[in-house]
């Protein structure tokens, strides 16, 4: 009887184990399918080819400063409302390039954050960034209080809409207390933001 119970238990455990394995495999497959199908999924490498240039938008923000930030702080650097008004293509590609003359507290992290329509639409993706749109431009440098110039470029895509063409591109600058000193500070003395708009042929 004990052996039967043990055998039954073993069989049940095996079945449950198989069921769990099946579920695991199914959920893994589902995740892979979602990652492949959902436009918001973040592939490791992304390629967009043969885009047609439409126009360029520029902005030169005034000085921004964050002082005595306790951990992670952000300050607005620039906002551009850029139209994607097209009758032919179904999407626009935005090339977003920011250049800043910066100064950062020693040993801390300086970051840009890029936002496209505040991330409200999954079809609008910025690459390459962390999921929250962040890109670290310097981290862990004891000499970072010395002024220098940094820059970074990301690529975003958005649907074309004749009746509601504008897309809001926002760039923030921030710092993080990565050396554990209790605070961080960052200054962007001069900055320049360029947004180039492209469409597919």
């Amino acid at each position: 009887m004990m052996m039967i119970r043990t055998g039954l238990r073993t069989a049940m455990a095996a079945s449950i184990g198989q069921l769990k394995l099946n579920r695991l495999v199914l959920s893994l497959l589902a995740s892979l399918l979602v990652a492949a199908a959902v436009p918001g999924a973040r592939a490791a490498t992304t390629t967009i080819k043969d885009l047609g240039y439409v126009n360029t938008w520029v902005q030169t923000p005034s000085q921004r400063n964050i002082a005595n930030c306790p951990s992670d702080c952000w300050i607005h650097l620039a906002t551009l409302d850029v139209p994607c008004e097209s009758f032919g293509p179904s999407a626009c590609t935005f090339y977003i390039h920011v250049t800043s003359e910066v100064q950062l507290s020693a040993g801390d992290a300086g970051r840009f954050r890029f936002k496209l329509d505040d991330g409200l639409n999954n079809n609008q993706i910025l690459r390459p960034t962390a999921p929250d749109g962040t890109v670290t431009w310097l981290a862990g440098d004891p000499d970072s209080p010395a002024r220098y110039a940094t820059s970074f470029a990301v690529v975003g895509t958005a649907d074309a809409d004749l009746y509601n063409p504008n897309h809001t591109i926002e760039i923030l600058i921030g710092c993080g207390d990565t050396d554990g000193s209790g605070s961080c500070a960052v200054t962007a003395f001069f900055s320049s933001v360029e947004v180039r708009v492209y469409t597919t042929f």
């Binding site: 960034t129 981290a139 940094t150 970074f152 990301v154 990565t178």
Partner: protein
């Protein structure tokens, strides 16, 4: 004065079509077009990487290098005036290199190192060298741009643009290592038409 009102749905549809046609006409005059005859043409291809890539070597004065993203094949499109295209290659990458070593990018066109155009005669651009702090810096965002003109003998010739990242053991301590984080590579092709 009588203000016209549109009460039937057919009239509303007509009004909407008219409005769209009007906007289309105005837009065609207002927005610079990429492919209008007699103007510069400007096409672009982009490749981004959202992951971290690492390369290292051992041996005194050794060098290591690898493509920063897979090479991009970009066409110099058919056009009437001549067969030359100007390529502008812009790279942005989070970079890191071991202390006191050299971190570099290398630009290669059709398997041949770029000469000039913003790079040295072997296609190299050093973004840092001999910095005692580079080993403790986790990320340092670097951007660089090169440009060159290619004259083809055939229409719609495809050209391969490769950008490598790498390091050299310039302090001769027997090794170097380098990392590349978030990366954006953009290749703009500019050409004229009649």
């Amino acid at each position: 004065m009588t203000v016209p009102t549109f009460t039937s749905s057919a009239a509303r549809v007509k009004l909407r079509v008219l409005t769209v046609a009007l906007i289309a006409t105005m837009w065609s005059f207002a927005v610079p077009r990429a492919d209008a005859a007699g103007t510069h043409h400007h096409r672009s291809s982009m490749r981004t990487r959202n992951t971290t890539s690492k390369k290292s070597c051992t041996g005194t004065n050794c060098s290591a290098l690898a493509p920063i993203v897979p090479a991009l094949k970009v066409v110099c499109p058919f056009h009437a005036t001549d067969t030359s295209c100007t390529y502008v290659v812009h790279l942005s990458s989070q970079a890191q290199v071991s202390a006191l070593d050299a971190g570099f990018f290398r630009f290669i066109v059709d398997t041949v190192p770029l000469t000039g155009g913003g790079a040295d005669p072997n296609g190299y651009v050093t973004w840092i060298n001999n910095d005692p702090d580079s080993g403790t810096v986790t990320w340092d965002a670097r951007s660089y741009e090169v440009s060159f003109t290619i004259t083809d003998t055939a229409e719609n010739a495809s050209h391969t643009i490769e950008v490598d990242y790498g390091c050299t053991d310039t302090d001769a301590n027997g090794s170097c290592s380098t990392m590349s984080g978030f990366t954006t590579l953009v290749v703009d092709v500019i050409y004229d038409d009649i």
